[in-house]
């Protein structure tokens, strides 16, 4: 058998020593990554009792919340193990260590020898002494398998109880809620996250959780899980109980020290290590959550990485760097609930001072504790945008005496690059992965990094919780010459997210009402810009199956008519393809007389406009017209303009009126990011101007051209050719695929001509007509679902949205008032 490459490359013919790593989690693998940077090389074997490659455990809650898939959180794929000649043994639990013989024994009976042993066994969940706690339906939330079990078990309507109101418990609660469960968090203490928050901060957090629809019960000790065979109720001290279909125990973790014991290591709460990360045995090392350094056991990511670097030096014989402990910082990873805590927030310590800011209506609470003029601790709830500044003050023990007036509110800098420029090279940008500004700049210079994705791959920065993404982008912008900032505008300052980002949030977080979105992700108030945009998004995302809130709609969409300069309305009935009849024309004429309509106007869209109608008359006018709404007042499907085509025209080569009427029927009553006008012409003479419409069908001998992105408004733009097809049905289908693609991907108030230009017609083609059959089918399925939920808005004349929808309020009659 030939030796592995690494051994042959070794200097002075020494046989590589065997390093066995027990634990395939973040700490163990991060340490191995560091070890690989040192010489001499080891023959490395990693045992993992899970069956997965190394993944980012702190993002499990994002998997539960549907924001990420299990594949998204993989940190080291199998190829990484292979490239580094690491023998990976998954699904094997090491059950014994013999420090004298230097062997480890697996639960599969295998015995493996080592020269150096690294214990990275992490921690295990604390299961409180609750009667019948192992009943079916009770889960812990610690690894990917737990997460998968929870995802399988949870479903809409289930009552879920989370025991434990710490970081993990709250993240689990939100994840379960997103899966549709009705969630209650039961916490033993009187304050949520009491290890990270003071009582005031905890109450701000509880308010936010309640606003999200999660019930929080504090100061309750759970005594039993009740139920016949499987969980049915959870009982508390004192006898009270609540129903539960599913229970998650998230009552904390403790170091997993079993193997440390078996190896005869010195152990207190965790495996004791010194500043060089050495245990009491010269060839056995430990790293991560299972160790105790200077009296502290860490349960967060940043310390594990710092420890790993030190240990890598020590274990490879490059002993020198020391581990000095880590400033504890934690961040709650629930979208829309910003909580950050670091250091010691207890102001009652000797010489402690406190600076606080509170705004209950905005849900913002900030508290700094200072000691001897330096920052000792920080709590941020509701606004964590300054967390990196405070972390740096903590790490560098900055003297804040001269900054006392700007502790909570730094003076806004006019120079947007200043924030980054002010940071020192040693300052940490990514707390999860321990990446400094200097490291990022070196990566940009030395490795030619110019995108965020490359930066993640190269340095791991922003691949943890993601909260430093903005900072990383600023750095890229400042340093990388080729960096192109993704130009994504946010909707407005009420809800500062880019729209594609927001669509993803609403989808993954299952939000269905505008007010809910504003309360969780925005300022709770909204404005005339974001409310209609959010209304559109929710309608589109849930294919019409959302909670419609008319207060978030412009007046036109409350009364289904176009408001005019004098407060009256214009009424344009649908006249598909511009084709009408004598009966319709008579009714229109009668309405014009009956309501003394000041102006009757033929529009540019082959329809008839009745102008000057009073709001209160709208339902009666619609009833008398007996025609459906033409949607001329909304950001939605307007009309299809047609020529007479083969029916009458001596040049026509396609039946444009029939095709146009069918096109209008298929899309009518649907909403779009901006108004959408269509045209169908029966020959290339283009009499109905299809090539300057959002969607146009241009008939040719034996085929149709489907064109998109045309305009003849403020801007004039000839539509781009999307595709040429043989049959009318194929043309209608291509139009449908593009129509839904535009609905799902354009920003609100972005016309097709801007949308197509922004993306480029090649990309549009690739994503629509050239997409796989599955992608096209999905687009058309969602279009069909939306269509099924849509209706002629003028039918609200009979089924009012609200009793006073079209009416003025009349002061009440005396008899109705009880004073």
């Amino acid at each position: 058998m030939s030796l592995p490459l690494t051994e042959r490359e070794l200097p002075n013919d020494a046989v590589a020593k065997k390093l066995v790593v027990v634990g395939n989690g973040m700490a163990g693998v991060a340490c191995v990554e560091q070890i690989l940077r040192h010489a001499p090389k080891f023959n490395i074997t990693i045992f993992g009792d899970e069956t997965h490659v190394n993944y980012n455990r702190i993002l499990l809650s994002s998997v539960l919340a549907g924001e990420k898939s299990p594949d998204d959180i993989v940190l080291n794929g199998r190829d990484w193990y292979e490239q580094n000649n690491i023998d990976l043994k998954l699904g094997v639990r090491i059950v014994d260590v013999d420090p004298m013989a230097k062997t480890v024994t697996g639960n599969d009976g295998s015995v493996t020898t080592f020269d150096k042993l690294l214990l990275a066994t992490g921690s295990i969940p604390i299961i409180p002494s609750i009667e019948d706690v192992m009943k079916d339906g009770v889960f812990v939330f610690r690894n990917l398998d737990d997460t998968r079990s929870l995802l399988e078990r949870s479903r809409p309507g289930l009552k879920a109880v989370v025991i434990g109101g710490g970081l993990l418990g709250l993240e689990a609660a939100r994840g379960l809620q997103v899966q549709g469960c009705e969630v209650t968090v039961v916490h033993l203490m009187d304050t949520l996250m009491e290890r990270q928050l003071d009582p005031v901060g905890g109450s701000y957090l509880a308010t936010k959780m309640n606003a999200m629809g999660i019930t929080v019960l504090l100061g309750l000790s759970t005594t039993a899980v009740l139920g016949n065979g499987k969980v049915e109720r959870v009982q508390f001290k004192g006898g009270g109980s609540i129903p539960a279909d599913l229970v998650v125990v998230a009552a904390g973790i403790r170091p997993n020290i079993e193997l440390g014991h078996k190896a005869g290591l010195e152990i207190k709460r965790g495996i004791v290590v010194n500043d060089y990360m050495e245990t009491s045995h010269p060839d056995i090392f430990a790293v991560g959550e299972c160790v105790q350094h200077n009296g502290v056991c860490y349960g967060l990511v940043a310390p594990l990485l710092e420890q790993g670097k030190v240990l890598a030096a020590t274990i490879t014989g490059n002993k020198g760097p020391t581990y000095q402990g880590t400033v504890l910082a934690s961040k709650l990873k629930i979208m829309g609930v910003d909580v950050f805590s670091a250091g010691d927030f207890n102001e009652k310590a000797d010489g402690g001072e406190m600076v606080r800011y509170e705004d209950p209506s905005q849900g913002i609470y900030k508290k700094l504790t200072l000691k001897n003029g330096k920052l000792a601790g920080v709590i941020l709830v509701g606004d964590t945008s300054d967390s990196h500044r405070y972390m740096e003050w903590l790490r560098s023990e900055t003297d804040l005496t001269s900054m006392r007036r700007q502790l909570l509110f730094p003076e806004p800098s006019a120079d947007v690059g200043l924030d980054v420029a002010q940071m020192q090279d040693g300052e940490t940008v990514c707390g999860c992965m321990g990446v400094t500004k200097g490291t990022i700049i070196r990566a940009i210079h030395d490795k030619g990094v110019s995108t965020l994705a490359q930066l993640k791959e190269c340095t791991r920065a922003s691949s943890g919780c993601g909260s430093c993404t903005a900072l990383c982008q600023q750095l890229l912008k400042a340093v990388a010459p080729e960096f192109e900032e993704e130009t994504k505008r946010v909707i407005c300052k009420c809800i500062p997210f880019a729209e594609d980002n927001l669509r993803e949030i609403l989808r993954s977080q299952q939000l269905k009402s505008v007010q809910e979105v504003l309360e969780i992700y925005g300022n709770g108030v909204g404005c005339e810009v974001c409310k209609p945009a959010l209304s559109y998004m929710l309608d589109m995302l849930w294919c019409g199956d959302h909670e419609e809130d008319r207060s978030a709609r412009f007046i036109n969409d409350r009364v289904h008519a176009n408001i005019q300069k004098d407060g009256t309305f214009s009424v344009i009935p649908r006249m598909r393809g511009g084709v009408t009849s004598s009966a319709e024309l008579r009714r229109i004429a009668d309405v014009a007389d009956k309501y003394q309509v000041p102006m009757v106007k033929v529009t540019g869209s082959q329809r008839i406009d009745l102008l000057g109608i009073k709001k209160a008359d709208l339902p009666k006018v619609w009833a008398d017209l007996g025609m459906p709404s033409g949607q001329a007042y909304t950001k939605g499907v307007r009309m299809v303009k047609t020529c007479v085509g083969t029916e009458f025209c001596r040049f026509g080569v396609q039946d444009s009126t029939t095709a146009g009427i069918e096109l209008e029927r298929r899309f009518e009553n649907l909403f779009t990011p901006h108004k959408l006008k269509m045209g169908v012409v029966g020959c290339p003479r283009n009499c109905a101007e299809a090539t300057v419409k959002d969607i146009g069908l241009v008939g040719q001998e034996g085929s149709w051209q489907v064109v998109v992105g045309g305009a003849a408004g403020k801007k004039v733009r000839k539509a781009d050719l999307l595709v040429t097809v043989e049959t009318t049905e194929q043309a209608l289908e291509a139009a449908g695929v593009f129509f839904q693609y535009y609905r799902e991907n354009a920003n609100y108030l972005e016309r097709t001509y801007d949308f197509v230009e922004r993306l480029g017609i090649e990309k549009v083609r690739k994503d629509t007509v050239y997409a796989t059959a599955g992608v096209k089918r999905d687009l058309l399925d969602r279009l069909r679902k939306s269509k099924d939920h849509s209706y002629d808005a003028w039918l609200e004349r009979e089924t009012l949205n609200h009793p006073t929808q079209f009416l003025q309020i009349k002061p009440m009659e005396e008899a109705e008032v009880l004073i």
Partner: protein
Amino acid sequence: MNQATIEETVWIAIARSQDLPLREGRVVVLGDQEIAVFNLGDRVLAVSNHCPHRNGPLADGIVSGATIVCPLHAWKFNLETGQGANALSTEHCIETFPSRLSDGIVFLEAPRQSTTKNEMPAMSG
């Protein structure tokens, strides 16, 4: 003298709160006044229905917290003070009307008219 004094105003019951959908406006006419009334959930606010810019119907606007946005040209006014609330409207002010919500009934205080009914005596609290 045609300036109203306090004795000349009266509380008028105008609607049950459920007649006013949450965060939407409705118009009520009291005498020669066209008033826009807004249900903000915990309270009801009332202002003149006429935007000083081009007479836009404020009751048809979108509510943003305690601010109303005119549907015609997006002038904004604070519903509590009547003050213009964006760059367009900052020099302007609209009339506000005291309002109260009591047992689910919305009352407005308006100048006494010979035709008004439902006076509410001695409001307290």
